[in-house]
């Protein structure tokens, strides 16, 4: 009884001082418990990466390492294809992000502010491409890449990802609410359309470009199906492909490489997420895209 009284008085103090209600504390505890449940698979990934090779593949599994070691990461670095695949994926993602930012902002500006014949129709045509799911284009896009002789090259990955109608749409929406006066004033001062883009529009579009950059980075760094279809040469493999190849060549026993390599594969997206968390939430609210 005494304990209950004192804990109630603690609650009262907390409530008074911080404006936190009891219901909020209960919600917090419940949500934290559920979040831990979400994190449960990650615990296995993290702890397994610090096990010895034999420890990882021993069944039944055990969460905690019998012996803590960094040996598995050394194995990843020594594996012939993994470090290379890591840098392939990073490099490709940076190139694609740069291209998408350039094409989306320029395209968004052009369709939001400039006048030219057929503008509305062309914009609608670009938007209509989002109606067709990628899986429908998978086979024929492969054939197009084959015709251009681009199979098994990075161009086959970069070209279809360099422009997104979603990015153009997003930038157009954002740029069309930038006050028109800014544009008109710069025009009066003799600025050309492109100079206005560089000096006025681009700096003002930063928030939306940040969000777009994050999603594009995640999308290209994590992409699996298209790289799987167009890449054959294992020197060109991206990280997701290289990871799954480990599985198909050696079977379950190869988890001693898959675990630490997977943990390393999570680092770039997690870093991007943590650094830009604010833009993330903003970007999702802005666009409502899923994953």
């Amino acid at each position: 009884m005494l304990i209950m009284n004192s804990s109630l008085s603690i609650l009262a103090v907390v409530r008074k001082r911080y404006g936190i209600h009891l219901s909020q504390m209960i919600i917090f505890v419940v949500l934290i418990a559920l979040a831990m449940l979400m994190a449960y698979p990650f615990l296995w990934l993290i702890f397994s990466s610090f096990k010895t090779a034999k420890d990882i593949v021993t069944l039944p599994v055990q969460l905690m390492p019998r012996e803590w070691t960094l040996e598995s990461f050394r194995r990843v670095l020594a594996a012939p294809d993994l470090p290379r695949a890591y840098f392939n994926s990073l490099g490709l993602s940076f190139i694609i992000v740069a291209l998408v930012l350039a094409t989306s902002s320029l395209g968004g500006y052009v369709f939001a502010r400039l006048r030219f014949p057929g503008r509305e129709m062309m914009f609608l045509m670009i938007l209509s491409t989002t109606m067709v799911p990628f899986i429908t284009l998978l086979i024929p896009l492969y054939l197009v890449m084959q015709r251009f002789g681009l199979l098994n090259s990075y161009m086959a990955i970069i070209i279809p990802s360099a422009v997104t109608s979603f990015g153009i749409f997003l930038c157009r929406q954002f740029i069309s609410v930038i006050p028109r006066d800014l544009y008109e004033a710069a025009k009066m001062d003799g600025c050309g359309d492109f100079a206005i883009y560089l000096r006025i529009i681009l700096p003002l579009t930063k928030p939306v470009l940040a969000a777009l950059a994050i999603f594009t980075f995640l999308g290209s760094f994590n992409a699996y199906l298209w790289p799987l279809v167009v890449l054959n040469d294992k020197h060109l493999f991206t990280l997701p492909i290289a990871l799954t190849k480990l599985l198909s060549t050696y079977g379950v026993t190869n988890y001693d490489l898959i675990m630490p390599a997977s943990l390393l594969a999570c680092l770039p997206p997690v870093i991007v997420f943590l650094v830009f968390q604010r833009n993330f939430v903003q970007g999702i609210a802005l666009s409502g895209i899923r994953g």
């Binding site: 030219f116 024929p140 197009v144 995640l218 994590n222 898959i258 997977s262 997206p269 899923r290």
Partner: protein, 308 residues
């Protein structure tokens, strides 16, 4: 003579001026960029899409020249047991995954909206983590967790005194194993979207309800849920489109036989493994039309709810 020369000159000036004037109406930068974009989409979208339509009326195996077969690929599709099996798997998966993810996501987003600041942000970050890591990583990780003979989940079940399960080895359980994994993956993004929707709802509505003595449950049921309807419909549309195209989840967590083969995986296998390109294109056209209809129906329902 000189007169006519001057006349011509004057006419030319007017013409140039008019031309200059026309150039003023249209922005050259705009036109150039738009045309470049159109050419780009012609190559990566219009041409491939036309090829997909064209291929679906042909038979082709990459080697012998394509042969026109009319509607036979589509006829074959409607008599193909494997195709209907894939349709069943895809639709079951989408329906179950989406309803559960949205129900849980809604409740959690509402609870989360009652918190503020660092507490809200850190919990959201934990839920969002599976969204951002490479899908292949989560798929390989869950494949390992699902190992029936001494895998992590069965170790957990046994330690709780429950019987171990076959998981991916059972054709009844495999699809639901993938559903759990995909809900885990996307729950964070569902929550973020709903949270944004809840934040749009005026705070005074909820405060008024609280003054009237409405508890959390009634606030959720009578205020949040009806007002979030458009967001829910939007989430359903996006999720249907998303789940129809999931791929690696079904490849690496596949159950026995065809128990987890979806339309997307079937299309891939037809195109790149059986080299049955025409038929693969026909199946992929089916996915396109099915998604188009599903989206239209959902959006129509959204408009219908707005009318009263």
């Amino acid at each position: 003579m000189q007169d006519s020369m001057q006349y011509l000159k004057a006419k030319a000036t007017v013409a140039t001026r008019q031309k200059g004037h026309r150039a003023h109406i249209g922005s050259w930068l705009g036109l150039t960029v738009a045309l470049c974009l159109l050419i780009y989409y012609l190559i990566v979208f219009v041409v491939p899409f036309s090829i997909a339509v064209w291929l679906s009326f042909h038979n082709w195996d990459f080697i012998v020249d394509p042969k026109f077969v009319g509607l036979r690929n589509y006829q074959r599709m409607f008599n193909d047991g494997y195709f209907w099996q894939a349709v069943r798997v895809t639709v079951t998966f989408s329906a179950v995954e989406i309803s559960i993810a949205i129900a849980i996501g809604l409740v959690l987003a509402f609870l989360l909206s009652r918190l503020r600041g660092i507490a809200q942000r850190s919990i959201l970050a934990l839920f969002y983590l599976p969204v951002i890591i490479p899908s292949v990583v989560s798929v390989l990780l869950w494949r390992w967790l699902y190992i029936s003979n001494g895998g992590a989940f069965n170790v957990l079940l046994t330690s709780l005194g429950l019987p171990p399960q076959p998981f991916l080895l059972s054709s009844e359980q495999a699809l639901y194993c993938i559903i759990v994994m995909v809900i885990w993956t996307f729950l964070g993004s569902v929550m973020v979207l709903f949270l944004a929707g809840i934040n749009e709802i005026p705070e005074h509505l909820i405060e008024a309800a609280m003054l009237d003595g409405a508890g959390l449950w009634r606030q959720f049921w009578y205020i949040i849920l009806p007002l979030l309807r458009p967001v829910i419909v939007y989430q359903v549309v996006v999720s249907v489109i998303g789940t129809f195209q999931l791929f690696e989840q079904f490849v690496f967590l596949s159950g026995p036989g065809f128990s987890t083969r979806t339309l997307a995986v079937y299309t891939y296998q037809l195109g790149f493994q059986s080299l049955d390109l025409g038929y693969g294109a026909a199946v992929s056209m089916f996915i396109f039309v099915a998604l188009l209809i599903a989206t239209a129906v959902q959006l129509r329902r959204l408009h219908a709810t707005f009318e009263y």
